[in-house]
């Protein structure tokens, strides 16, 4: 059962195609990671899948309905988007920030349903923010703030969460906590798509990886299948060290730079 599909997407930015011919279908419960060097189009793809930017060609559908035909409110209620870097223009309290996630559910004149308050409360507790609820979000440490922004995105109870580098700038504890939270969201039936620069986190926590490079999706599949020496050499120009964790989980660790120009004959696609 697929929930999100992208058909032959071509995404332009600044008059130039950054990605073309992207085909993707993702099922509920799946966690998908987008990998690729800076400028490969990870953020552009996430924005197009969120319906923020229209693709130049192709279409995105959710539950069989094209995003372009979904109203903005319906889209807001279904799809969550966590930008990088997350931004708070004003020193609003953590509680008010998280409550912004309920905005698409507010009635006319901003009337809130009592259940909204309960949802906000639940997210504050789930993201360990209860003690910080009255603090201005601009006064928090980077780790605390990113928990608040994640709680904001979760407060809309999105069926599809698109997260741009959700673990950027986080210490190891918060990186693991964030990935666990995203896995929990997927376990509850949502679809999660994130961009990632951290190969070990991507290989451990994502069900599927898309390697973006050369203006297209070079390859997609299970981490073990796509994080091959040839692919990593071609995509990033690196050599990885492969390990298996205590729970038998595969992970790839960036180890050294490829000594010379990558050779075409070691393609693993």
């Amino acid at each position: 059962m697929t929930q999100l599909t992208a058909e032959r997407l071509t995404i332009a930015r600044g008059g130039r195609d950054v990605l073309s011919g992207v085909d993707l279908s993702v099922a509920p419960g799946e966690v998908v990671g987008l990998l690729g060097p800076n400028g490969a189009g990870k953020t552009s793809l996430l924005r197009a899948l969120a319906g923020i930017d229209k693709p130049r060609l192709g279409r995105v559908t959710f539950d069989g309905c094209p995003l372009a035909r979904m109203g903005p409110t319906a889209r807001g209620r279904t799809i969550g988007f966590l930008p990088q870097p997350p931004e708070a223009a004003w020193p609003v309290s953590v509680e008010d920030l998280v409550a912004l996630g309920r905005l698409p559910f507010a009635g006319p004149f901003g009337r809130r349903d009592p259940s909204d308050a309960a949802t906000v409360e639940e997210m504050l507790i789930a993201c360990d923010l209860a003690a910080l609820r009255n603090r201005p979000v601009t006064s928090l440490s980077a780790g605390e703030a990113s928990r608040a922004f994640l709680a904001r995105a979760l407060a809309g109870r999105p069926r599809l969460l698109l997260a741009d580098e959700p673990t950027a700038n986080l210490d190891p504890q918060h990186q693991l906590a964030t990935m666990k939270t995203l896995r929990k969201l997927a376990a509850a039936g949502a679809t999660v798509i994130m961009s990632q620069h951290d190969l070990p986190l991507a290989s451990r926590f994502c069900d599927r990886l898309l390697l973006l490079g050369e203006g297209r999706v070079m390859v997609q599949g299970r981490p073990r299948e796509v994080l091959t020496p040839g692919n990593l050499s071609r995509l990033f120009g690196i050599v990885a060290h492969y390990e298996t964790g205590p729970d038998d989980a595969f992970f790839a660790l960036p180890w050294s730079l490829v000594p010379e120009a990558p050779r075409d004959d070691i393609v693993d696609l």
Binding site: P72, I79, F81, L82, P83, A89, W90, V92, D96, L100
Partner: protein, 332 residues
């Protein structure tokens, strides 16, 4: 600031506004004590009291509150839209456009044959400037560039206003324009209220409708869009509402600076900085602040009555400087 405290804030502001409005009806060249004021209000006062109240004080109080509300509300909306606390209608050229339009109406003599031409031309001037800004905003111009462009537009309208003064046919015309430009609520009649209030009220409604979008915009444009906010529509809403609220305001009172800049800053700490609440608070706060400023002008023991625009600039400019220094201090 807890939620309960901010819930009390709007009623408290309403009470404050009511109190200063009552004071502004009672205070002036001829003080009217509360008993006589009440009698005049319900139609049992002396002829003189009723005349002062209904012909002079009431129009002045309504205009002062309405213009203050327009400036405060537009300042809050523009700051919310541009996510920049240093923006105000005067800084981005909207007020400049409005005064240029009004000056052209003065200068061309249209005002003598058709008094409504001043507010109408003022509105048109504000609309031209806002259309340029909206056009830039709609094509995705960066906010910092948009602000600088507004500053340039402000200079341009100022230059054109100076040109009109330079070319004015008589010194008398120059004086008329200059005094008008200083910004004043004195000698305004019910006619001015009738001319300006309807458009301002429409502007207020439009600006207040932007509250939800501005709340979402706290998270930046991409996140706001993902929450179902149409950025282009929000930008146009704020720009159009600003033109409708500020254009007629400047057109009937002249330039009154810094209210739009200062008021949102005074309100923000009381409402937890939420942009939607800042809108409501700034409308009420702007109304109260300008009413108080006009009250000060009337009771100040000066030989020539000060223009309220002069007073707001004298208080506002140092506040603006302080704000810049404090922000720089925080950034370091």
């Amino acid at each position: 600031m807890t939620a309960r405290q901010s819930k009390m804030f709007i009623p408290a502001m309403l009470g404050l506004l009511f109190a200063v409005l009552m004071l502004s009806l009672a205070v002036g060249a001829e003080a009217i004590p509360p008993g006589r004021l009440l009698a005049a209000m319900v139609g049992h006062g002396s002829r003189i009291d009723s005349l002062i109240l209904w012909q002079i004080r009431v129009p002045r109080a309504i205009l002062g509150a309405a213009v203050g509300a327009s400036l405060g509300l537009a300042g809050a909306a523009l700051q919310g839209l541009m996510r920049n606390p240093l923006v105000e209608p005067g800084l981005v050229g909207v007020s400049g456009g409005a005064s240029l339009g009004a000056v052209i109406a003065f200068y061309s003599g249209a005002v003598t044959s058709f008094p409504a031409s001043v507010p109408l031309a003022g509105f048109a001037g504000a609309l031209v400037v806002t259309a340029v800004l909206a056009g830039l905003a709609a094509t995705g111009t960066r906010v910092a560039v948009l602000v600088l462009f507004g500053v340039a537009l402000s200079s341009l309208t100022g230059g054109l206003t100076a040109l009109a003064l330079n070319l004015a046919p008589s010194p008398f015309a120059v004086m008329e324009i200059v005094f008008w430009l200083l910004g004043s609520l004195a000698d305004r009649s019910m006619q001015h209220v009738v001319l300006a209030l309807p458009a301002m009220a429409v502007g207020w409604a439009i600006l207040l409708s932007a509250g939800r979008g501005l709340e979402a915009l706290t998270l930046g444009e991409a996140a706001a869009q993902s929450l179902g906010i149409d950025m282009r529509r929000l930008t146009l809403t704020v720009i159009l509402g600003t033109a409708l609220a500020v254009g007629p305001a400047v057109a009937v009172t002249g330039t009154i600076g810094f209210v739009g800049l200062v008021v949102p800053h005074l309100i923000r700490p009381w409402v937890g900085s939420r942009p939607g609440s800042v809108l409501w608070g700034s409308a009420l706060g702007g109304a109260a602040l300008l009413t108080v400023a006009d009250l000060l002008v009337r009771i100040a023991p000066t030989f020539v009555q000060l223009k309220v625009g002069v007073v707001t600039s004298l208080i506002g400019a140092p506040f603006f400087m302080l704000l810049l220094l404090r922000r720089q201090g925080r950034a370091e």
